[in-house]
Amino acid sequence: MTDLESDDSLLLEFEDDDSESISNIDAPTDSKATHLDSDFANIPPHNVDTDDSEFDIDESQFSEDDLEDDYLVFPIKKTTKDLLDEDSLPSLKYECLTTQEIFDSMKRRVHHLQPVFSLPPQDILILMQRYDWNEERLLEEWTEKMDNLLIESGLNTSGESDGRGVKNGKEFFCPICCEEILTETFSLECGHEYCIDCYRHYIKDRLNHGKIITCMDCSLALKNEDIDQIMGGASSVKLMDSSIKSFIRKHSNSYKWCPYTDCKCIIHLKDTLSLQEYSRLHASRFVTCSMGHSFCFGCGFEIHAPADCRVTDQWVKKARLECENLNWVLSHTKECPRCSVNIEKNGGCNHMVCSSCRHEFCWICGGDWAPHGSSFYQCAIYKNEDKNKLVADTPKKTLRRYAFFYKMFTEHEVSAKLDWKLGETVGFKVKGLQEKIGVSWIEGQFLTESLKTLNEGRTALKWSFAVAYYSDPSHNLTKIFIDNQGLLSNAVESLSELLQIKSPEVIMKRRTEFYNKAGYVKNRTKALLECGRDLLRKGISKARE
């Protein structure tokens, strides 16, 4: 472990030197800016918005959770935490909400506004709806044209509430359905009275439109209490829900639906100012909803660091175009390089052992495993063989180059999926530890943590190939980036192998190994992400057609 760590720190230092010198040469303002950024990041994230406390629930919860994890189960993480604080990015302030929660906060706003309008809350709710829940615009218009605003919004200005509401059963001729029957009726102050059945039909259709519902014959608005009175139960909730949904559609810059199937979470990004900072640094705004789904706030795609949204977009589009060309190359089975038995990969690790001839080989390059294991992981390097010959890129060669990177990308994607399956067994393993050896649940969490780290490492590795594909291969930083890929790849493989162990006794015996390897993967992941961002920031890696 000590060996690895010193190796790691050396490399980090080297990177720092490098970036420093580059920024000094061609962009002196850049280094200044990074200093400013780190200042910004050093401000504790909690002391900002203290005035509207209802808006910062999730952020604080988040970091507390993280901290708890740190101290209880994952001692190594403390150092990584420190490293993260030096990150030059402003922390993202966002919260995960449901439509109901947004509506509740709107209701609180209504309560705050009440003294300004001195109207019943129900009426203010109508005004807010009319102005798409935009408080500032509403207040502005209100100071300009008070009474007209009320009339335009369909609120009764006469002050009388005579005739409003449901009236008891009587013999009534309804001009809508033209039936004369004994029925309940409803009307607003305007006196346009219709039978309750017609009103129900009328409202039912409109609950999903998210707009104020008015009297059938004039512009007087129905309030939520009227709707509930007519429809019974809490039907107005449905109208508020659709109104909030249309509000979200109109504010898609700061509100996004979680893209996962059937997830009803909405992410609200609070400081849109940090967005500019993020895109300037080629970092992406990754958010996690309260169901644990992580995605990129910018493009709605999965976590794609170190690639930024542009690279991701280009890469995915390219993959779609090229996939038919390449699919035949990348079949899911491979022959054992020694005995030619067909082998299907059933675990995330690239260290293959042929079940028939016991030959150990690397899944990616098909070479012997022995040189991979302890020393440098050769497979993550794309060797530019014809480097010395200055030949223009022929289409065939570009395709070959792309094929390599695409292959690496999909290898890690498939591995990630297999790791995901592996993850399903980790729960059982933790349970096994509890039942067979009597390890407490909390102590067994190092397995879950390791798996999480493994997944994060894999995702970063996967997307790093998209960045590498678009990088200038001759640049020094690209070489460092590829070295970093190799190191992370190595770390991920060895952690993945560790997680395949089935026997609970062995797992407990090698527990420190889990800690160390997971910690190492974490550090390597972070180094790769930073390096990738540098590539993008300095324009060495550029998305192009």
């Binding site: 001009p175 809508i176 359905c177 033209c178 346009h192 009328y202 259709d205 707009k211 059938m216 014959d217």
Partner: protein, 153 residues
């Protein structure tokens, strides 16, 4: 059904006795087969290129009427108007959409609204782009000329 019957009574009454608003516009209006399909003949409003001509409207009531708006079309290939599709006779009018329709309105309201549309075409939401463009350019001669050309042929 009683709603349709009621409308039938009102419409025949209005047409027989004459009404200030409607008799100017409506030449004739009667149900086809049953009370869910109607045909109306309307007079081109004076002061418009449609003056002196009559236009046929087809109205049909959906099952959910009056909760849903009626379907209304002009006779195909007969109505050159910025908000009418010339080939199908389809009309672009907000009150005929489900979102804006109110059950308190009836067929007479609809016909009246269409008469108003003939008087005041909305060039910003065109179904007939040629005419809408001419209107936007405010070229009245071309507007009259084009409409007359279509009507006469």
């Amino acid at each position: 059904m009683s709603r349709a019957a009621k409308e039938y009574k009102t419409i025949t009454k209005v047409l027989k006795e004459g009404d200030e608003v409607y008799s100017q516009l409506i030449v004739g209006m009667e149900p086809k087969e049953d009370l869910t399909r109607w045909e109306a003949l309307i007079r081109g409003p004076s002061g418009t290129p449609y003056e002196g001509c009559n236009f046929r409207l087809h109205l049909s009531l959906p099952q959910e009427y009056p909760m849903s708006p009626p379907y209304v079309k002009f006779e195909p290939y007969a109505m050159p108007h910025a908000n009418v599709d010339f080939r199908t006779g389809e009309i672009c009018l907000d009150i005929l959409t489900k979102q804006h329709w109110s059950p308190a309105w009836d067929l007479l309201h609809v016909v009246q609204a269409i008469g108003q549309l003939l008087d005041e075409p909305v060039s910003s939401s065109p179904l007939n782009v040629d005419i809408a463009n001419i209107l936007k350019a405010n070229d009245m001669n071309a507007y009259y000329g084009l409409v007359h050309y279509y009507i006469k042929s």
